[in-house]
């Protein structure tokens, strides 16, 4: 069961896995800001490479994550192709106004160096955010997410939602399977070859009724179990899954604090006070 999920429930053994939830969550948030603010290959490329190194260091199960890369990669290629189709000269305004035509298909469909640059950076940005998210998801457990969010002052009742969801989703999936089986035996046809799409939708709605009812029963029991063990008693709470800070955490802290200051500087100088050229283009 757990092996099929992308997210781990038990922390792994590599350096990145062993960072505390606090470090992982804070670092991830800073990196997200970093990616969103920058449209600059000098910032994105190093991060992407570091991300890939990080990913490799965790020795992930490529079979599972391969599909994420393929799907995201293909979707983004389509995305930039559509960008080009709408405005083949889209790079011009980003790279200082000029257009160096490299090849002309016909009329307005041209390939310019600026557009290639702009679209490549755009693609790199998307892939970098995928790599970084992947590193985050693979390195963290739901309980560490909860602990990490709690460390940035998110109320713990909200943090709990994260860990609880991961705890009970597989249970609900199992209930769903059971109900599906009982319905199939009674003659509900869920085979796409034998029943039309609309019929199948209706059949699935039929399954939802008992699923919702049995899930409500479960929620009541869970709430009782939590009350009985003092959940919600105090204003603060500690986390068993949150390890003590190690050297790596301290190093990471310096890194993400520095990065955070850099982000603030960058946002103020490049985003809030816009300049004529909106992105760094070395060939103008």
């Amino acid at each position: 069961m757990a092996g099929q999920l992308l997210i781990n429930l038990i922390p792994g053994e590599t350096t990145l896995h062993k960072l505390t939830g606090t470090t992982k969550v804070r670092f991830f948030i800073v990196l997200l800001v970093f990616i969103i603010m920058s449209f600059d290959i000098r910032l994105l490329l190093p991060l992407c490479i570091l991300g890939i190194v990080g990913l490799l260091s965790m020795k992930p199960n490529w079979k599972v994550i391969k599909y994420f890369f393929i799907i995201t990669g293909v979707m983004n290629l389509i995305n930039i192709f559509l960008f080009w189709l709408v405005d083949p000269d889209c790079g011009a305004i980003w790279c200082g106004g000029g257009s160096t035509v490299l090849y002309q298909f016909s009329g307005r469909f041209i390939i310019t160096a600026e557009s290639i640059w702009y679209l490549s950076v755009r693609f790199l940005k998307m892939m970098t955010s995928l790599v970084i998210s992947m590193v985050f998801i693979l390195s963290i457990t739901p309980s560490e997410i909860a602990a990490g969010l709690y460390s940035i002052k998110v109320p713990y009742k909200i943090c709990t939602i994260f860990s609880m969801a991961f705890r009970y989703i597989p249970d609900i999936a199992r209930d769903f399977d059971n109900i599906k089986i009982s319905m199939q035996v009674r003659g509900v046809e869920l085979d796409s070859k034998k029943a039309s799409f609309m019929t199948r939708i209706k059949q699935y709605v039929l399954i939802l009724v008992p699923l919702i009812i049995s899930s409500f029963d479960r929620v009541g029991n869970i709430a009782n179990a939590m009350d009985l063990r003092g959940y919600g008693k105090g204003k603060t709470r500690t986390y068993y899954s949150e390890r003590e800070e190690q050297k790596a955490d301290k190093a990471a802290k310096i890194l993400y604090c520095g990065l955070f200051l850099f982000c603030i500087y960058w946002i103020i100088t490049k985003n809030i006070m816009p300049q004529p050229s909106k992105m760094w283009y070395p060939f103008s």
Binding site: M1, A2, L9, I10, T141, P142, S143, S163, M164, F166, R167, P170, D171, D175, N178, I179, I181, S182, M183, Q184, V185, R186, G187, V188, E189, L206, I207, V209, P210, I213, S214, D217, R218, N221, I222, A223, N224, A225, M226, D227, L228, R229, G230, Y231, G232, K233, G234, T236, R237, T238, Y239, Y240, S241, E242, R243, E244
Partner: protein, 573 residues
């Protein structure tokens, strides 16, 4: 001087949603270090009593309290559930839902986390608690890898931290197979002896709890305490049958033999009781001839032939073969994960065998779709709430026919017949939400019977039911079998069910069929019992101790019991 830990004085409780009080005039004192069993049928108020002690009433379920209840000297009316939970640890019935952590360690730590205990102090405490329940090797396991018994042990470890002085177990045996249940009773006993915490067990399965010593039994009925004394007194009092509690099998055997039961024989403990006063009568009884009810073998309707099945690489059924004849009642037993449910899924066509084949009335079942198999083999799941999709009973029962596009006339005819068979015809227009659990069970069975299958497979039909409801459901199924010749396969952990209502047992262990023989043979075969996580019945122990052959003794007992039931039936008819 013994110190009281629980003191009920003229206590009453009424749920906000109910018109009448659930508990009346409770006067009960439990002293520190005692081990008390709260016994009673469903609806007797025993769970309400437990929830008043742990604070769920009125914290989660609102209601009105009268009189007084003190826990460790603290009046509960004025205390919060959190203050109470410092003293009281509760292990709930649903071991799945109460597992809130994502790993064993986290779940054990949950109460400590809420106390804001620093992690450095938490780790040794978690380790200590996990050692008490022998789960220290599993700290990094996720809940999906654990069996029901293991989850329950984790729940126990989660509430056993130092300050807790009172442990409440709410129906701890409900979801466990017989051997795991035995282990649980033993574990509770060990913790009680070693930690000197007060223990309260809420159960209706008297015999299983009596596997280890209890100091006192409190019997409840309709919100009142009707008995409060040592177990031996209860067993000889005759109160058990009056309040719908199943008496231990060996007690029944003693009564059948015409023994005068006395409490000075240590009667609560079959392993050590003094049998001398009873020996003669027991041996005499065994010699008595009882006519054995022999079933005439009907035609073969199902044949499983050398079937193997695997989930991915994991082989769950290995080369299984058996046949079922018309009109048989067969129990399918074995521990969790032994392959019972997989077998049921194969029979109903959800999965298909990787090797071997299944024949329904000689026909190769590979030619049938799931839907077509459903017309021949009905599969009724354990939890009726997972099966019922319509609001009105009649609509629920006719669903399978609607899905098969039958004509209105044919449908009305069949639905009427089925509802009559199941005793639901008078309620046909009732909303499903208005009926009891047992009736819901009937509805799910009716919704299968309406297709006129050859066989129905029932997954744990009596799980979580007290003796009264158990008898109600089982007698209904027995009637279906007798009057209408319906063949029934019971997937079950319950050895009582197998003894009382089935003739043959098919036993699975590690995916293999390890026995296929009459129930009394299975229950007297040590090897099979060991392999399948079953447990010796107290009849076995009794036979053993009076020096007679267990197999013969159990067979005799079953035959005699059937005879009595038969007589009861004919006088009732």
């Amino acid at each position: 001087m013994k110190k009281p830990i629980i003191e009920f004085k003229d206590f009453g409780f009424q749920y906000k949603s109910q018109r009448e009080a659930t508990l009346h005039n409770i006067n009960l004192t439990v002293y520190e270090g005692e081990k008390v069993l709260i016994l009673g049928p469903s609806g007797s108020g025993k769970s309400t009593l437990a929830n008043c002690i742990n604070g769920l009433n009125p914290f989660s379920y609102e209601g009105k309290i009268t009189g007084s209840l003190k826990i460790a000297g603290m009046e509960t009316k004025d205390a919060s559930i959190f203050a109470i939970s410092k003293n009281v640890g509760t292990v709930l019935q649903d071991s799945d839902a109460q597992f809130v952590g994502l790993s064993v360690g986290e779940d054990i730590a949950f109460a400590l986390e809420n106390e804001s205990v620093p992690r450095q102090k938490m780790i040794p405490k978690v380790l200590k608690a996990s050692k008490i329940v022998e789960m220290e090797k599993y700290l990094l396991h996720v809940p999906y890898e654990l069996s029901g018994g293991q989850k329950q042990k984790v729940s126990l470890a989660g509430v056993i931290h130092d300050e807790v002085r009172l442990l409440i177990f709410d129906e701890p045996l409900a979801a466990l197979d017989p051997k795991t249940g035995m282990y649980a009773v033993d574990l509770i006993d060990r913790i009680h002896r070693e930690s000197n915490k007060t223990v309260l067990i809420i159960e209706h399965r008297l015999e299983d709890v009596l596997y280890r010593h209890v100091d006192r039994i409190v019997l409840m009925n309709e919100g009142n305490i009707v008995f409060d004394d040592v177990p031996d007194k209860l067993l000889v009092s005759g109160l058990l049958s009056r309040y719908g509690i199943r008496e231990p099998l060996y007690i029944t055997a003693l009564r059948y033999a015409g023994c005068e039961l006395t409490e000075d024989t240590g009667i609560a403990d079959v392993y050590h009781m003094n049998l001398e006063p009873y020996r003669e009568k027991l041996l005499e009884k065994e010699k008595m001839k009882v006519e054995r009810y022999e079933q005439e073998p009907g035609e073969e309707i199902l044949r499983v032939s050398e079937v193997s099945f695997a989930y991915g690489r994991e082989e769950v059924l290995k080369n299984v073969s058996f046949t079922i004849r018309k009109g048989e009642k067969v129990s399918v037993v074995g521990k969790n994960g032994a392959g019972k449910s997989t077998m049921a899924k194969l029979l109903s066509g959800i999965h298909r065998p990787a090797k071997g084949n299944i024949y329904i009335k000689g026909e190769d079942y590979r030619n049938y779709s799931i839907k077509e198999i459903g017309e021949r083999i009905g599969y009724v799941m354990q939890n009726p709430n997972q099966m019922i999709v319509k609001d009105i009973i009649r609509e629920e029962v006719e669903l399978a026919l609607i899905l098969r596009g039958k004509s209105r006339e044919e449908m009305d005819d069949k639905v009427k017949k089925t509802l009559q068979m199941c005793g639901l015809y008078g309620m046909r227009n009732w909303p499903v939400s208005a009926v009891s659990y047992g009736q819901k069970k009937r509805i799910t069975i009716a919704s299968m019977l309406v297709l006129e299958p050859e066989i129905i497979i029932l997954d744990e039909p009596t799980a979580g039911q007290d003796y009264y409801h158990y008898t109600e459901i089982m007698n209904f199924l027995d009637d279906l079998n007798r009057k209408y010749g319906i063949t029934i396969l019971f997937i079950t952990h319950d050895m009582h069910l197998a003894i009382e209502y089935t003739d043959r047992a098919i036993v699975f262990s590690e995916g293999e069929l390890v026995a296929d023989s009459p129930v009394y043979k299975v229950l007297s075969d040590d090897k099979v019992i060991e392999k399948a996580n079953l447990k010796q019945t107290s009849l076995y122990e009794l036979a053993h101790r009076i020096g007679s052959d267990p197999e013969n003794y159990i067979e005799q007992f079953i035959a005699y019991e059937r005879m009595i039931k038969e007589n009861g039936r004919s006088t009732a008819d």
